[in-house]
């Protein structure tokens, strides 16, 4: 009975083993079949090659596509081309080809032998498994030694996981220890570490270990947050008192520096000892520029372990920034228009000399890629479209045409040009900030709407001409434009091409009117 049971136990495994053996044997037999066919092909080829040079020519049916044939003659019977592989052929005689075939047949034979060996091997194995089955089943002089395994696979898997755990655990300990030591160290770093700890906690939460530390950490976190809030309030108080308006005409480099420092001190930190929290902490709403230089130096000093927690939300006060802030898209468009007009002016002035580089004049600073798109625009049906390529001259001509037409448009143009001037004024600050900074920043409450913005600029504006051979610009006080400029410009565009030759005279007329 016991032997019977053993047999039934073994049966599926042995069956599987036999199946595998059979599979291998079958695959080998398939390969053998293939190689036999190859061998046969080579045999016939060799036969043909041996008899081919016997005659000078053979009457054959020449294949004409897969289905058609035509009678023909095979000549040059002792010239064959042998495919060497990879579409390389060797021209040789029939005898040489025969040798090559012989060589190849050897290889085929070798493979066949190998395959036969494999088949034999596996057949033996199959027979052995059969024998094994028989022997274990019949329970003769043989004893089957077996070891009982209890659900082994899952256990090993679990063990592996456990083995991995030590790697993560020390990490957490390390973090905790660091945190403790950190109390005297930089708060900034502590913050980061806490983040890390939080992460590790999340990982180890399932592990069940480190629950105590977790609570500790959370408590600590809460305390730190409270501290932070306190500090924040204090800072705000100090900030309000400590705003001395510096000159806003700080260069962009300075701005950047300030930004950089702000970023380094970005993370909110708490300070135990130092109470000299002064106005160097900007809160984002106020557009203040507190003591730039000294503040910076202090900040650099404050990079020490007991650093003052500082958040810098500084508005970058680059010259063009104002325009972007106030005007949004429309403003940008206006500026583009102005630039186009300026370019048109250049064209007028230089005429023959005007080329694509006129846009790259020194008063068009290109500092960012966005500036390129701002400078190189096309006017299509009065809409400004960013040019795809700055190298295409056609589009530039288009824009120029529109510019000239715009300037030529009579009555509207006066207002329009005036607007242009005001705007160009903005732009002029790019080149020389010293003169125009005050003007630029003077209207602090420039509203977003263009109409009201006009009122803000309602006075006569005299522009400083950045060009060496200055053509007097139109500087006419716009009589409080109520209309929407966008539409007007479109109208201008549509009207424009009617009277192109007049434009210079219009300009002059405008100038006269101004006088």
């Amino acid at each position: 009975m016991a032997g019977r049971a053993v047999e039934s136990d073994l049966a599926p495994d042995v069956g599987r083993l036999r199946e595998e053996h059979k599979k291998v044997v079958k695959g080998c037999e398939g390969q053998i079949e293939h190689w036999r066919k190859v061998e046969k092909d080579y045999d016939s080829l060799q036969e043909r090659l041996k008899t081919l040079p016997d005659q000078l020519s053979y009457d054959i049916m020449v294949p004409f596509g897969p289905l058609a044939f035509m009678p023909g003659k095979l000549v040059h019977t002792n010239e064959v081309t042998v495919l060497l592989g990879d579409n390389w052929f060797a021209k040789c005689s029939a005898k040489q080809a025969d040798n090559i075939v012989e060589h190849r047949k050897k290889h085929v034979k070798r493979t066949l032998d190998d395959l036969h060996k494999v088949v034999k091997n596996f057949e033996d194995r199959a027979s052995f498994t059969d024998d094994l089955d028989r022997v274990s089943g019949s329970k003769g002089d043989y004893v089957d030694i077996r070891e009982e395994v209890l659900n082994d696979e899952a256990l090993t898997k679990g063990k592996r996981r456990v083995a991995h755990k030590p790697h993560s655990k020390p990490k957490m300990d390390y973090v905790v220890a660091l945190e403790e030591a950190e109390e005297d160290e930089e708060e900034e770093e502590e913050e980061d570490k806490e983040e890390k700890v939080r992460v590790t906690e999340g990982e180890d939460r399932d592990g069940g270990k480190g629950v105590v530390t977790e609570e500790d950490l959370w408590a600590q976190l809460d305390a730190l947050e409270a501290q932070e809030e306190q500090l924040d309030e204090r800072d705000r108080m100090c900030d309000l008192t400590d705003t001395n308006g510096e000159d806003t005409s700080s260069s962009s480099e300075e701005e950047k520096e300030r930004e950089g420092t702000g970023q380094t001190n970005d993370s909110p930190k708490e300070d135990h000892a130092t109470s000299d929290i002064h106005g160097s902490q900007l809160n984002g709403v106020l557009h203040t520029h507190p003591e730039e230089e000294e503040g910076k130096e202090e900040e650099e000093g404050e990079e020490d372990p007991n650093a003052l927690p500082t958040i810098y939300f500084s508005h970058t006060v680059e010259p063009k920034k104002v325009r972007i802030n106030t005007g949004k898209n429309t403003m940008l468009k206006f500026s583009e228009r102005k630039e186009q007009k300026e370019q048109a002016k250049n064209k007028k002035k230089k005429n023959g000399k005007a080329n694509g580089h006129s846009r790259h004049d020194q008063h068009h600073k290109i500092t960012t890629p966005a500036d390129i798109y701002r400078l190189f625009v096309d006017v299509v049906n009065g809409e400004l479209i960013p040019r795809k390529s700055i190298l295409k001259s056609r589009s530039r001509e288009n824009s120029v045409c529109s510019d000239t037409s715009e300037s030529s448009a009579a009555d509207f143009e006066e207002r329009r040009s005036a607007l242009g001037r005001t705007l160009s004024h903005d732009d002029a600050t790019h080149s020389d900030t010293s003169d125009c900074v005050t003007e630029e920043d003077s209207p602090p409450g420039i509203p977003l709407h263009s109409g009201s913005r006009f009122e803000a600029f309602s006075g006569t504006v005299v522009e400083k001409d950045p060009l060496p051979s200055s053509i007097p610009h139109l500087t006419i006080a716009p009589p409080a434009l109520p209309t929407i400029l966008e539409r007007k410009s479109e109208e201008l565009c549509t009207e424009a091409p009617q009277e192109p030759p007049k434009r210079v005279s219009k300009f002059k007329a405008a100038r006269l009117q101004q006088k």
Binding site: D41, Y58, D59, M61, R134
Partner: protein, 82 residues
């Protein structure tokens, strides 16, 4: 035990049957071929395909017929041996 002993025998039987079928098919083909060749007019030209290619070589009719007959005999002998 007994069933296991029978299993390989069954497989061999199957193999032999398939082989026989194949051989039978070949013999039939060969028979048809010989018939066709024997029914050809005297002036008909016979072409033999070069195996593994698409070229047909002009062959002698009588010679081809004789080889085909030999082939058929061989096949028949093989079939009887199985």
């Amino acid at each position: 035990m007994t069933t296991k002993g029978n299993l390989p025998a069954a497989s061999t039987v199957q193999e032999t049957t398939t082989q026989k079928e194949e051989l039978n098919k070949k013999i039939r083909e060969q028979k048809i071929l010989v018939d066709e060749l024997s029914n050809l007019k005297k002036n008909r030209s016979v072409y033999l395909q070069q195996p593994n290619s698409n070229i047909f070589f002009l062959a002698d009719r009588t010679q081809t017929m004789s080889t085909c007959k030999k082939e058929l005999d061989n096949l028949k002998k093989e079939y009887q041996d199985m």
